[in-house]
């Protein structure tokens, strides 16, 4: 009987009725969860990343050490495991966090670690002479960082950070495992009812693709804008 259903679902022709009825719930999942999850996590993650990068570049051994351990722990463990610890793990020791905030915490910490390496490298890529030129007109370390170094580092970090952002859009599908009804989980739920796995997962893939493609076009625009003060 299960096999029969599967075989029926294997019908190669696209089921347009199902396409129509499934598309909106999936898009809704995207608008309600995938996009907010991506935006919120990325924003918080960037803030964590900047602070982590500055900590690693600071003179304080303690701050630099904490930052290094954090980055190493996040980069050395799978995202799926991190998500599971925050949602299932913490719940099992009595700290219950809802699925969506759990996902925000996990993704922010994840972005924070990876992006901190990007930001650190881009700060280091600004020539030493730029610090000195700032100091020579009397700037404090903080003024030189904010006015001279970070704007130039930003330009360098935009391409790799855009890649992180686009990866994050796709990674949010992992939140399906902790019951966040985002785009992919919506498609799973409908597939579980209709057995149209191929069609539904392809639809989900195309939706992700459209979002990521749009983002990469925007990325190109931003890079072009930021390039205006650099020799071609």
């Amino acid at each position: 009987m299960y096999l029969n259903n599967l075989l029926a679902a294997a019908d190669p022709i696209v089921d347009w009725d199902l396409f129509q009825s499934s598309l909106w719930p999936m898009i809704q999942g995207g608008i309600q969860y995938t996009i907010p999850l991506t935006l919120i996590s990325f924003a918080i993650g960037l803030l964590i990343a900047l602070l982590t990068a500055l900590a690693r570049l600071s003179n304080s051994k303690i701050l630099a050490g904490i930052a290094r351990v954090y980055v190493s722990a996040i980069r050395g463990t799978p995202l799926l495991v991190q998500l599971s610890i925050i949602f299932f793990g913490l719940a099992s020791i009595g700290l219950v966090i809802d699925p969506f905030p759990s996902a925000v915490i996990a993704f922010s910490l994840n972005v924070g670690a990876y992006a901190s390496e990007i930001i650190r490298a881009s700060i280091l890529s600004v020539p030493k002479g730029q610090w000195e030129a700032g100091q020579a007109i009397g700037m404090t370390h903080r003024q030189a960082l904010a006015r001279i170094i970070l704007p130039q580092a930003t330009r360098v970090s935009i391409p790799p950070l855009s890649n992180s952002f686009i990866s994050l859009v796709k990674d949010t599908s992992l939140a399906s495992t902790i019951l966040v009804t985002e785009l992919f989980r919506k498609s799973q739920e409908i597939a579980a009812r209709t057995y149209e796995f191929m069609q539904l997962y392809i639809t989900a893939a195309i939706l992700y693709w459209i979002v990521c493609f749009t983002l990469s076009v925007i990325q190109g625009r931003i890079e072009k804008r930021l390039d205006r003060y650099v020799a071609k």
Binding site: G129, E132, A133, A136, G138, M139, T140
Partner: protein
């Protein structure tokens, strides 16, 4: 004396680069600093505004500010010292994300917290002074080396320093545009700016400087008016150095 330096020492690890520099610069005078490569000219100039932290010695500006490096000075003292001088770098070091006029305005606006409209006027007049009123709104990469260096000079002048420091301001430039930068520096000398200039342009030093200092091996070997030091050096090392520059073989 505008600047008095006593017993200045600086080493990088094991290498002693400055081994007790004593010098003074009179207000309104132009001092040229010459010497072989690696003798410590750049290091000395960078010590004057604490881009390089001296290990020992004192730096004094007139009567009102004296800083000893025998123990580490505070951040505030370093800033105070820095804000006395403007620096022009060999490689310009303009801010690439800012236009020429924004480069010039940055110090007065951000550091001195002056009013923007007034600073804009100041920056325009400085860029005019260095002959760049037409290029004000271009980014550094749109300017030639000579133009960039002139923006660098205007940027340093904008904070109204008591002393201007130049580290080989023309040595990164093509020979045919060296003149336009030297011309600007000559004008500043005529306006009475106090300047310390590290240079290999002996003719320029002879013409513009009031005082020439020859450095070798981390010591001031000889100093005096250009007519004497360049024409009739007393020390064998000075003679040897000048010979090598004047008769390269």
């Amino acid at each position: 004396m505008l600047l008095s330096v006593e017993n200045l020492h600086k080493s990088f690890g094991e290498m002693n680069v400055l081994k007790g520099i004593d010098l003074s610069i009179e207000k309104g005078s132009v001092v040229a600093i010459i010497g072989p490569s690696g003798s410590g000219k750049t290091t000395m100039l960078r010590c004057f505004n604490a881009l390089e932290m001296p290990d020992k010695g004192t730096i004094q500006f007139e009567q009102d500010f004296k800083l000893s490096f025998d123990k580490a000075p505070s951040k505030k003292e370093i800033l105070q010292l820095r804000r006395k001088s403007g620096m022009v770098f060999q490689s310009y070091n303009l801010f690439p994300h800012k236009t020429a006029i924004e480069n010039v305005m940055e110090g007065p606006v951000v550091v001195q917290k002056k009013e923007k409209a007034a600073v804009k006027k100041l920056a325009e007049s400085l860029l005019k002074k260095v002959g760049l009123e037409e290029k004000m709104h271009l980014y550094p990469h749109q300017l030639s080396g000579g133009q960039q260096q002139r923006v660098g000079i205007a940027r340093a002048l904008a904070i109204e320093p008591e002393l201007m420091l130049f580290d080989e301001p023309t040595s990164a430039l093509d020979p045919e545009i060296v003149g336009e930068v030297l011309h600007v520096i000559r004008d500043l000398a005529n306006e009475g700016w106090t300047m310390a200039i590290v240079t290999h342009e002996l003719k320029f030093a002879e013409e513009v400087a009031d005082h020439v200092i020859f450095i070798d091996g981390g010591h001031i070997v000889e100093q005096g008016p250009p007519a004497e030091l360049l024409k009739n050096p007393q020390e064998p090392r000075t003679r040897q150095f000048l010979n090598r520059i004047l008769n390269p073989s």
